[in-house]
């Protein structure tokens, strides 16, 4: 062993970003699912370009729709992530996705204690159709998962804004959107939030970026 470097973990500390998106039938209206697919692709590509010796963004992607919630991309460094395309169909099993998120965050083999606190990003346009209350309370109030930063977007009038207000870490982290266009805006907000953390001298203090103006969007 020739240097102190031989005893060090060579990878930067992970900064997990865990995304859970709604792919229920209602997301198929007014171009929302298409906007979501584009926004996810842009999001992944834009943060792939971010680089830091001190933090490495890790992404996991979950979705809920049809009859169940699924883990579509297991947690992995951003460099290994390929985008996912969703079809809208079925119900809104949000409680199921809360259980999956909880399972991931409590698992120290997937998110070691060396990691920075995870950010959870939730996007939905509807009301949960399964038993969501107990899984949500366990996610946000109990154990390790309670320490994650939680950001959410409510799309349209049908989204359960009261429930989402309870879900987010603080009210500023609930973004309200009216249209498909706002989904892309939301993911730009998430990009700014994550990259600010990554570049920050204190990555464990979540900063609230300004929502981007419409005219800065590149359609």
């Amino acid at each position: 062993m020739d240097s102190l470097n031989d005893f060090l973990i060579q990878k930067p500390r992970p900064l997990p970003v865990i995304i859970a998106v709604d792919r229920s039938g209602s997301m198929g209206t007014n171009g929302k699912i298409d906007a979501l697919n584009i926004a996810l692709k842009d999001f992944i590509n834009s943060i792939k370009d971010e680089d830091s010796n001190k933090a490495e963004i890790h992404i996991a992607l979950f979705s809920f729709g049809g009859e169940s919630a699924t883990c579509d991309i297991p947690l992995a460094p951003i460099s290994q992530i390929n985008t996912q395309t969703y079809q809208a169909q079925g119900r809104t099993p949000m409680g199921g996705v809360f259980n999956l998120l909880k399972g991931l965050i409590e698992d120290k083999s997937q998110i070691p204690s060396r990691s920075y606190k995870p950010t959870i990003v939730l996007l939905t346009d509807g009301i949960p159709t399964d038993d969501f209350l107990s899984p949500m309370n366990e996610l946000i109030n109990d154990g390790r998962s309670s320490k994650a930063f939680r950001i959410a977007m409510a799309i349209g009038d049908d989204a359960d804004k009261n429930m989402l207000l309870k879900f987010v870490s603080s009210p500023e982290y609930l973004v309200l959107g009216d249209s498909a266009r706002d989904i892309r805006k939301f993911f730009r907000f998430v990009t700014m939030s994550v990259t600010q953390r990554m570049k920050s001298q204190t990555p464990d203090i979540q900063q609230i970026p300004q929502m981007p103006d419409d005219d800065t969007l590149d359609f």
Partner: protein
């Protein structure tokens, strides 16, 4: 049996906003009775944490000199925490502004006993008579989270008493270093430090250690980084 020890130590400031000092603190104390190494990591989110870190190291040294080895170790935990709180409260009503971790090792020379104390996520590893022990840091959920003095949760020092026969070496490192170490290589790191630094002139050892940390660990995270390594010399 007489023995001599070598101490190397270094503390470097992390990449922080201007005006925020290095909030780690190391204090070594030695007399005929005992050798004490105490390391504190003041919490970055507490504005007077350097002061809290200094008070913690001094409280450890004061209280250890009062303790009888036949006493229950919880008396030491209580004594250090009360001493720290009293000193802090004489300066401010807001003890959370002084939050700090603290870990220490004390070697009682005549009794050939060692007490290891740990409150928070400062790494402690030791090898006594050739047997390596890694004292896992108090469990934490994520980076930069820790138990500490000043948390108002009455968190306790993890205290362990060991005996030694002929030799020991030990390492204390704040999380800026400890979180970056490969756990399975920590014993080999003890050998690295001994082999490398025993061949460096005594007056230059600490500077060489500081250079090592700056060169290899500083880019890993923004935390302050402090390390003490002590080993017994063959006589």
């Amino acid at each position: 049996m007489e023995f001599k020890t070598t101490v190397i130590q270094a503390s470097i400031q992390g990449d922080k906003e201007e005006g925020i000092p290095n909030q780690d603190y190391i204090e070594i104390f030695e007399n005929d009775e005992c050798l004490i190494a105490a390391v504190s990591d003041g919490l970055g989110s507490s504005k007077n944490s350097l002061e809290g870190a200094i008070i913690a190291c001094k409280s450890v040294i004061d209280e250890i000199q009062k303790i009888k080895l036949s006493s229950d170790l919880f008396i030491l935990d209580k004594g250090i925490k009360e001493k720290w709180a009293k000193e802090v409260e004489s300066k401010s009503n807001i003890t959370s502004d002084f939050r700090t971790t603290n870990s220490f090792i004390v070697v009682f020379k005549r009794d050939k006993k060692i007490i290891v104390g740990q409150l928070g996520d400062v790494l402690v590893s030791l090898r006594i008579d050739g047997l390596f022990r890694y004292v896992e840091s108090t469990s934490k959920d994520f980076s930069n989270e820790t138990e500490c003095l000043g948390s108002n949760r009455d968190e306790k020092f993890k205290l362990t008493l060991f005996e030694f026969g002929h030799s020991f070496d030990f390492l204390i490192a704040t999380d800026g270093i400890g979180d970056e170490l490969l756990t399975e290589k920590i014993e080999a790191l003890h050998d690295y430090f001994k082999n490398k630094f025993q061949n460096i002139e005594a007056s230059k050892r600490n500077d060489a250690l500081k250079k090592d940390i700056e060169e290899f660990v500083n880019e890993k995270n923004n935390d302050d980084k402090s390390l003490v390594f002590i080993w017994t010399n063959k006589i």
